[in-house]
Point group: C2
Chain length 482, copies 2
């Protein structure tokens, strides 16, 4: 498999050029970012130095230095006859630290939105431990899940107005485990999937990895414009639609009742299966009224829930709620996958779901306080950044005063703050999303304050760089910082 990226496409991903000066360092940083966050895949052949120089409107000397710098840090290898190829040589821990969690205690990562364990979680583990002996006498082999947990989850849906039998529940390894399992169970290679224009990127990648072709709808005032859906469905046949209707990631939008009605009608009419990620639904921080779950509108819907978002990232238990007729192919697909989820984690979740909701409430209270703290810090330190208050979910979706998200991300990285640039959330990326940044509020107040302090320094760097204009070039400023 040979991957290549055209000069035009790479220039598009790098965003508008700001000058013809020696901007090589910043360009190298931006390319590194594209590789690290997966927008340019390992093994991709980059355009020639000459082509890239032309596409960016910079000198050949600049692109030569960019490639030399990338080769120097081992990110680019030059192969006889095949040009310059991206290769990721870094070790596992440093690689994943760039994607997810920092190696060193000084670095702050706002690149993921998994909550720390809320007060009360340790108690749920203790109670689960008292139930362990009965389970240890079994093989613990639970491809569709612990029966008790399936009953509790079914009752939870039934109580919420959606009659559900335990047979309609499959326990999975987190919400992502559910997404990737459904992607594989549903899709034959080449089948099309409707997705929101912006979303959790790993979910979209999972559908693509299963052979799906993604049709990303535009995001204007809502990610769920029914007219856009109709037009896409009339254009070509689709197999499934993946949506996050409750506190949509990353925008925090909630799909309205009218949109749900319209979507259910269109999807049914075109025989498209709704895959509905409701893993953020329980993180309703302000207790707003949410429309019913999507299966109320379309009984064919496959619903996804998760404890990793509502309780703790280390609790790898999610679930799928499906119509009975859809269950069997999913369980069969799971046998080629991870077979089953942690038996003990399932005991813990069963306890959390029956204790009366106090741990979930404690988790929400903590997140609400963290959200408000982050909003206050941003308002004080970075008033240029517009940060609307989300009613639920785990992160802010802020608007920057300029198209600077990737540059802000690279600048922040130099100050020990890892961010995910806005374009990463857009499926047909290009430089869409450069005005946005997702800022999770799942960490402590102290960490969030320090993160905002570093963000402010990075922001000032980028702004002074922009202010210095094309003649001064961007790299001069950035080299002073590095």
């Amino acid at each position: 498999m040979t991957l290549a990226i055209s000069a035009r496409r790479l220039a598009d991903l790098l965003g508008p050029s700001r000058g013809t000066g020696p901007a090589y360092r910043e360009l190298a940083d931006l390319i590194r970012l594209l590789v690290v966050d997966g927008r340019v895949a390992d093994g991709t052949r980059l355009p020639s130095e000459r082509e890239l120089a032309a596409a960016l409107g910079v000198s050949r000397t600049t692109t030569t230095r960019v490639y030399a710098e990338l080769r120097g840090t081992g990110l680019l290898t030059s192969r006889q006859g095949s040009g310059s190829v991206v290769s990721i040589p870094i070790s596992a821990s440093s690689a994943s630290s760039l994607i997810i969690t920092p190696d060193d205690a000084d670095t702050i990562a706002l690149t993921y939105s998994a909550p720390v364990g809320p007060p009360g979680l340790a108690r749920a583990f203790e109670i689960a431990a008292t139930k362990l002996p009965g389970l240890l006498t079994t093989t613990g082999y639970l491809p569709d899940g612990l029966p008790t947990l399936r009953e509790i989850l079914a009752q939870h849906y039934t109580d919420g107005g959606l009659p559900t039998d335990p047979d309609q529940i499959i326990v999975t390894s987190g919400a992502m485990g559910a997404v990737s399992l459904l992607a594989r169970a549903l899709l034959a290679p080449g089948q099309r999937v409707i997705v929101e224009g912006a979303s959790y990127p790993h979910a979209h990648e999972s559908f693509a990895a299963a052979g799906g072709r993604l049709t990303a709808l535009p995001i204007d005032t809502t990610p769920w414009n029914p007219a856009a859906l109709r037009s896409a469905l009339e254009g070509s046949p689709h197999r499934a639609a993946y949506i996050v209707p409750d506190f949509h990631n990353p925008t925090a939008a909630v799909m309205s009742d009218e949109e749900r009605v319209a979507w259910a009608r269109e999807l049914r009419r075109h025989d498209v299966v709704p895959v509905v990620d409701e893993s953020l639904r329980e993180i309703n921080l302000d207790g707003v009224d949410l429309p019913p779950v999507f299966a109320t509108y379309d009984p064919r819907a496959l619903l996804i829930g998760s404890s990793s978002k509502s309780y703790w990232g280390g609790l790898r238990v999610g679930w799928i709620r499906a119509p009975k007729a859809a269950i069997m192919p999913i369980v069969q697909a799971r046998m080629m996958d991870d077979i089953g989820s942690s038996a003990f984690d399932q005991l813990v979740l069963a306890e959390l779901l029956t204790e009366g909701g106090q741990t979930a409430a404690a988790g929400r209270a903590r997140l609400r306080a963290a959200r408000d703290h982050l909003l206050a810090e941003l308002a004080r330190e970075l008033p240029d950044i517009k940060a609307p208050c989300p009613a639920g979910g785990l992160s802010l979706w802020v608007t920057l005063p300029d198209r600077m998200s990737s540059r802000l991300t690279t600048a922040a990285g130099r100050h020990g703050l890892l961010l995910t640039p806005g374009p990463r959330f857009f499926t047909h990326s290009g430089s869409v999303g450069e005005r946005h940044l997702r800022l999770p509020y799942t960490q402590s107040h102290e960490t969030l304050s320090e993160a905002v302090r570093r963000l402010r320094i990075a922001y000032d760097d980028v702004v002074s760089d922009i202010a210095s204009g094309p003649d001064h070039g961007r790299s001069d400023t950035l080299e002073l910082i590095a």
Copy 2:
């Protein structure tokens, strides 16, 4: 995607016909078995009644009754213009009960080989619980695994003679989680994978689901004939080879030092990545000398280990040990998969690996006793069945006196004993494997005794059916039992 199976292929899967009498019931049972264990996929169009009758050498009346019976139990739907299509209508619990675990306490399932928790496991959970508080203050988000556990696993390999850095370990969701993750990380659609002729079927399905084309080597005196490998590799380019060299599943064979040397040489020469499932290596019941792990022979090898096999099926923690350069694409693939494994299960495994080995030893002692018990019961009740004693692993691989594995499986099902028919383990199945049966010894002595009692009744049914010969037909007998 339309699937279809030819009359010839279906007749091949059903095995040799034994008469022209009203054998419809047994044929229906055999087809049901093929569907339930996945050899005929959900949604497959069956041949016409006329074509199947001709291929089986039975009357058209018989195949008409077979299809009517399958329609009656809801396994076959007749669609206008598209013939008779397999559709699995059964609920999740009853479906998975057929594949894996029984719904009712009276049914015994010898269809899977996950061990119950050994003595000492509860204690490991208790100790892990004391370490939980430190983890709860983090997000528990561990895409490459709990650092402590990775260090312990790396030290384990280093102590065993294979120097390993913690960065070379990725913790996964069981061995199957590792297999499916590697299948997706390694393969582009259409790439070929060398596999043993018989193996754990879900592993092979996982490579196929990732787009791989399987080249199954023949099994003669060994699953690893170097000449067969050489011939396959010279025939066409391959990307990877998946092997189970230690207590191979299902044959319990161990790859010799000479075979490892020859395989490593051939795989290196043809640039084929070894994916080596060592999840049964620690279940060395008789303490036999095993050759070193495969990475000692070929440093490019990706090694797979698991706690689900060595300790408990409910502990969903496996791992991959890889060269540093191979780690990054695997971690990236994992981000589209299940993201991370249960944090608590990882604490438990870390404890089990540092306590000095007593829980693992207790588990092996229990398995050894169960193995010997099953062998003794079989020798007494079913002396016609040849059951060699495996030096390790979780199951016997027995030889039947006739090609009867599928018929024995259907007959046993009527007596409350679920088996996996031999052909299920053969990748290019047909009726290969009809002389074999895998019998796991992971359950209690009482259960194993009762299983052998039921197996004996089923065996007597099948033998008297065979003895009654073609003129009497098989279904007469079987209908009496049903």
